[in-house]
Amino acid sequence: MFPWLAERDGQRYDDEASRRDGRCAASIDARVPRGMLRTMAPTTFDGTAGYLVAPELRDAVNVAIDLEKPLLIKGEPGTGKTRLAEAVAESIGAPLFVWNVKSTSKARDGLYLYDTVARLNDARFNDRDIRDIRQYIKYGPLGRALLSDERVVLLIDEIDKADMEFPNDLLHELDRMSFSVDETGETITAKKRPVVIITSNNEKELPDAFLRRCVFHFIAFPDEELMKDIVRVHQPDVEDKLLSSCLVRFYWLRKQPDIKKRPSTSELIDWIAALRRAGIPVERLEGEMPFVGLLLKKEADVEALVNVKTGKLRSIRQ
């Protein structure tokens, strides 16, 4: 069997020396040249014009693509989890299939639905031939991804919304990249394993068996530098001074303990766009937060921070 498994061969490596004496190296036919690890790794994804990717995330994406493992992405709302899948699809030139998971979603819905009602209908009111069950099989996003002739990107968005069995129910299909349609007895196997990107908002814990199979990355909330670049992707000609002041306010707001729902990237982008459209001078950001409603979506949060009548900030806890 496999020579790496020392003990399986009945051999024991009792000390470092016997470990090194080459008993195992037999399986690999030569010594490795120096610099071996410095060659180009299979790289396909490096962000897109509209999506900035930090190096750790980029590498996680690439290793997931290369090892053909599902990539599980977590992170605060608005950190670009959903957009990542679009960017990956765009940059590797593959079609994107999206499966938006709901609380009622079942794993099988992603594969196919057997439209029994249509069939009963046809049987009663139409003179269609209902013997061919295949015409009543409606494929879901996962089913379509596996049926595709070319490599596709499959986004399973917000997997944590569904019930706890959902991820486990998917294990088989994700491992084998195949499924069978019970009603027709067909088995469908992907010709090219899709790139699978799964997002979670941490509503529920995911089962260990599921996690073991994934490559995992947690998108940390962008720091000011990266955030500046992200904003510029959306607002290329934003003035430096305005951008800086907005970011100071934004990160300050996120630090306030009284806030229940912290504003995220997309809210920041909307806010800056609104400030610019209204031509608000930078100076007004000193003690005020115009259009604060774009950042704080909960009324209680607004009230906690801003005097609604005057628009002035209540307390500035730095």
Binding site: M1, E7, R19, A41, L67, V215, E225, R262
Partner: protein, 401 residues
């Protein structure tokens, strides 16, 4: 030995499996380690660590293991040495051996060979070091990869330095709950709903199945979707709990918003439970403890939040509550607690204080009455597992025994 890192991670409480480790080896064999500016640090994390709450544990373990190897190249060397002679650990359990599928290993071996072969060719051609330099500008945004910091400061720092920054400390699962984590944590209580009550008829599935079988009725049963959990939450406020008031308040409001219980009741107590519980602590209003107790039966689950920290006489003495002016009866605090422990189906005590100080006298006594858990994400998970009747997991990472 590089493989030692695997055991080190496990010794530090990360449940890395051998299959995951082998994926890492595979990724290394395929040259991902030096993927552009990425580091072994991030690669190993993506393949071995599956929860952000374990990132900090990983950081510490990484810094411990590779500490001193400030230079990325030194880490490469270690990996390289191991790849030259990749012995798998003999300390494998049967379970781990079972996990190893023959196919995985053979693919891996083939890939390694392949890589070594092409490597040598490239080496001869003198064109190694491809990929570390001349990569495309970052994200097409016109920024050079060297300019991107992983954590905050400039690039070019070693993986050990990055790990040493402990960027993910606030994501740990074993820290006292952060305000915003509470909501998510409480949703874990939904888990209580599983395995409870008799199965229900799944009407949709029944219709579906019956239609498929041409009208032959096929009943489909499923576990109840509706949460049958009745939750009683008792929270200590004031006194030594003051520093935790904020956490408790958020826990409380999060629980309150949780609409997924069949019934939810909550009361406050001060220091220990005596003959009155409070709905409004500032006005000392609320029902008598006896009345609350009477309504609790085996359909209820009890969660108590408190630091279990008090003067011994406050817990043990008859009328200990008299000192506080809150009790007129002669029942001792511990006696009340015991009565509460007996009534519900299951109970758990959540303590915002770290486990290491739980051997304080009153805490020890209360731990004999209630299973106690830290008021952390991990602790809450363990508590939920316990309440569901599952066996306790003592090996949660970060849990100090």
């Amino acid at each position: 030995m590089f493989i030692g890192f695997f055991f080190h991670l496990r010794a530090r409480g990360l449940k890395v499996t051998l299959t995951e480790w082998l994926s890492l080896v595979r990724a290394l064999a395929r040259g991902h380690e030096r993927a552009q500016l990425g580091t072994f640090y991030a690669l190993a994390r993506a393949l071995l660590v599956k929860k952000e709450s374990h990132y900090d544990l990983y950081d510490r373990a990484f810094a411990e293991w590779f500490g001193g190897l400030e230079d990325q190249y030194a880490i490469d060397e270690q990996i390289l040495q191991w790849l030259e002679n990749p012995v798998l650990p003999r300390e494998l359990t049967d379970e781990e051996r079972a996990q190893l599928s023959r196919m995985d290993l053979e693919t891996l071996q083939r890939e390694l060979r392949e890589r070594l072969r092409t490597q040598r060719e490239r080496h001869d051609g003198g064109s190694h070091w491809v990929g570390t330099g001349g990569t495309s500008p970052f994200g097409h945004g016109g920024r050079n990869p060297q300019g991107i910091r992983v954590g905050g400061a400039g690039g070019g720092r070693s993986a050990v330095q990055i790990a040493g920054e402990r960027r993910f400390e606030n994501l740990r699962g074993d820290r006292v709950l952060d305000v915003r984590q509470l909501g998510a944590a409480l949703r874990r209580l939904r888990r209580l709903a599983r395995d409870q009550g008799p199965e229900e008829l799944d009407i949709d599935e029944t219709v579906d199945k019956s239609a498929k079988s041409g009208g032959e009725i096929e009943l489909v049963l499923r576990p109840p979707r509706k949460n049958r959990v009745k939750l009683l939450l008792l929270m200590d406020v004031g006194g030594s709990m003051d520093p935790h008031a904020d956490t408790c308040e958020r826990l409380f409001s999060a629980a309150h918003q949780a609409t997924h219980f069949q019934a939810f009741r909550h009361y406050f107590f001060h220091n220990c439970i005596y003959d009155r519980l409070y709905t409004d602590i500032s006005r000392y209003q609320g029902p008598s403890t006896d009345d609350v107790l009477k309504q609790i039966d085996k359909s209820w689950t009890l969660v108590i939040v408190g630091d279990a920290w008090m003067g011994p006489y406050e817990l043990g003495a008859e009328a200990g509550g008299l000192a506080w002016g809150v009790s007129m009866s002669r029942t001792s605090g511990i006696e009340w607690l015991k009565r509460f422990a007996e009534r519900p189906k299951a109970s758990a005590w959540l303590n915002p204080e770290p486990r290491r100080i739980w051997n304080a006298p009153t805490v020890s006594v209360i731990r004999r009455v209630f299973p106690m858990f830290e008021l952390t994400l991990d602790g809450l998970s363990a508590a939920v597992e316990h309440l569901r009747g599952a066996r306790l997991v003592h090996t949660e990472p970060g849990a100090v025994p």
